[in-house]
Amino acid sequence: MLETFFPNVKLDRMWEATTETLYMTAISVLATFVLGIILGLLLFLTAKGNIWQNRPVNLVISTFVNVFRSIPFIILIVLLIPFTKFIMGTMIGENAALPALIIGAAPFYARMVEIGLREIDKGVIEAARSMGAKTSTVIWKVLLPESMPALVSGITVTAIALVGFTAMAGVIGAGGLGNLAFLEGFQRGRGDVTLFATVVILAIVFVIQFIGDYITSKLDKR
């Protein structure tokens, strides 16, 4: 059946590209999760009326986040070429895509983290402080657990965006399904390869969405 509908698809190539995409997505999601939460926490805590209220710091982080969130990803990759070459030593391959993926996604996720944290009832934070909790306790035992469903649903959306980003990164040489669809599918006029790569990407996206929704609903005890 594969032969009839997808004559040009080579399963081993397709599998290789899929693992590349999964690798890029997994690493960048992990890094984005950590970095985004740190940035989001800083945004939240330095905002007016919060524990570390600090306008200058808030302004700097906020500006950084807004700028990097606003640059279209394809342009961000190009802009970051010198930076990527400096820390990764190359512009080719999956690892070379990671800096751009993380820098593109973390600010986007940081805003979602901030929104999630803002939804926590101020009274709960006050209650923790009234019990004599340190700021670190408030962060680890109140802010993060209480916003966890929002953090997980946020990282789900971000992870799906990141799958899209890896495809774009693929076009300029990072490998993965985007690279396959563009180079072997589009440029060689093999529509079936492009179509098959698309189907695989869709499958990845659906699986991510399913897992994200499942974890969110398990976590949410409200």
């Binding site: 009274g123 209650a127 923790a128 009234s130 019990m131 306790t137 005890k221 409200r222």
Partner: protein, 341 residues
């Protein structure tokens, strides 16, 4: 136990400084249930938040359980807060934790070992009457049960003072009463000093020993609850006292009665403490040839004794009626002849 001296709290707002608390002085004794009553915006919420350092006074000093909470910071303030716990109007439980985990939270903060934590949590769950609900999440509980968790959580580190911030204002009357009973029980059993703020005189009446009335950031009146009930001085206090002594419709009823009984007198009797328990009406009828018609009445229990009002219609010869009234006054009962206004 608690001493508040010349405390002022001002907030900067767009229209200049706002004095939320204005020169407040209070002494609260150990083991006492002290109530602060006022309408919203009276400054009572700011006042109670200064007792555990959630707000810092602009001027003045606050001492609680041997610590000057208005001055201390950092680790010392955090230690002090473990001895001055607080419950809230909206409970403020962590929804991500079960009942048992919520109660364990302050113990985790205090660094209590896991085994000891579990033991203490079980004790507290029984104390507040939530046996078997330890594994439930707050979303599965009713409002009253949530407040019980709040109380258990507040008691976890054996505090010396419990601050109640409108703790029953979000509850229905029946649940309010059961929570108030629990607070009295804790006060008696553990000797805990309780400070509560509320806008409901019912709460003051039911559990407080002493009360302070707040208006516009100032304490306008304070004293033992029964005294304040018996003899309210300020108009605002009178309004609060009316909340529990007079049913809403009293005024209309009295006017109606005056029209209905052109003869005789409509008399309002006010009983306080022991007076509320003696058979005054029986004695009056036995000793004086007057007709007594009971129109309306209410007796209110406070922590220090009963307080009640009774409206009667007294008919008979003018002189005998006056003597009967004189007799009733001599029995330690407040007597007021109601006339057409």
């Amino acid at each position: 136990m608690i001493s508040i001296k010349d405390v002022i709290k001002t907030y900067a707002s767009r229209n200049g400084d706002v004095k939320a608390v204005d020169k407040v002085n209070l002494e609260i004794e150990e083991g006492e249930i002290f109530g602060v009553i006022g309408y919203s915006g009276a400054g009572k919420s700011t006042l109670i938040r200064m007792l555990n350092g959630l707000e810092i006074p602009t001027e003045g000093t606050i001492n609680v359980a041997g610590r000057e909470v208005s001055r201390i910071k950092g680790a010392e303030l955090r230690r002090a807060r473990q001895e001055i716990s607080m419950i809230f109007q909206h409970f403020n439980l962590l929804w991500s934790r079960t009942v048992a985990e919520n109660i364990a939270f302050p113990l985790e903060i205090a660094g209590v070992a896991k085994q000891e934590r579990e033991k203490k949590v079980n004790e507290l769950i029984s104390l507040v009457g939530l046996d078997g609900r330890g594994d439930a999440y707050p979303s599965q509980l009713s409002g009253g049960q949530k407040q019980r968790v709040g109380i258990a959580r507040a008691l976890a580190n054996n505090p010396k003072v419990l601050l109640c911030d409108e703790a029953t204002s979000a509850l229905d009357p029946q649940t309010t009463d059961s929570i108030l009973d629990l607070l009295v029980d804790i006060n008696r059993r553990l000797g805990l000093t309780i400070v509560l703020i509320t806008h409901e005189m019912h709460v003051i009446r039911k559990i407080c020993h002493r009360v302070a009335v707040m208006e516009g950031g100032k304490i306008v009146e304070s004293g033992p609850v029964l005294n304040v009930f018996k003899n309210p001085q300020q108009p605002i206090t009178k309004r609060f006292v009316q909340q529990v002594t007079e049913p809403e419709e009293t005024k209309e009823t009295v006017e109606h009665l005056l029209q209905r009984y052109p003869h005789g007198k409509v008399v309002q009797l006010t009983f306080v403490g022991e007076g509320a328990e003696q058979p005054l009406i029986t004695n009056t009828i036995r000793n004086y040839p007057v007709m007594v018609n009971i129109l309306q009445g209410k007796i209110t229990q406070t922590q220090e004794g009963a307080y009640g009002t009774l409206f009667i219609h007294l008919d008979g010869e003018e002189e005998v009626s006056l003597e009967a009234i004189k007799y009733m006054s001599s029995q330690g009962v407040g007597v007021e002849v109601i006339t057409n206004a």
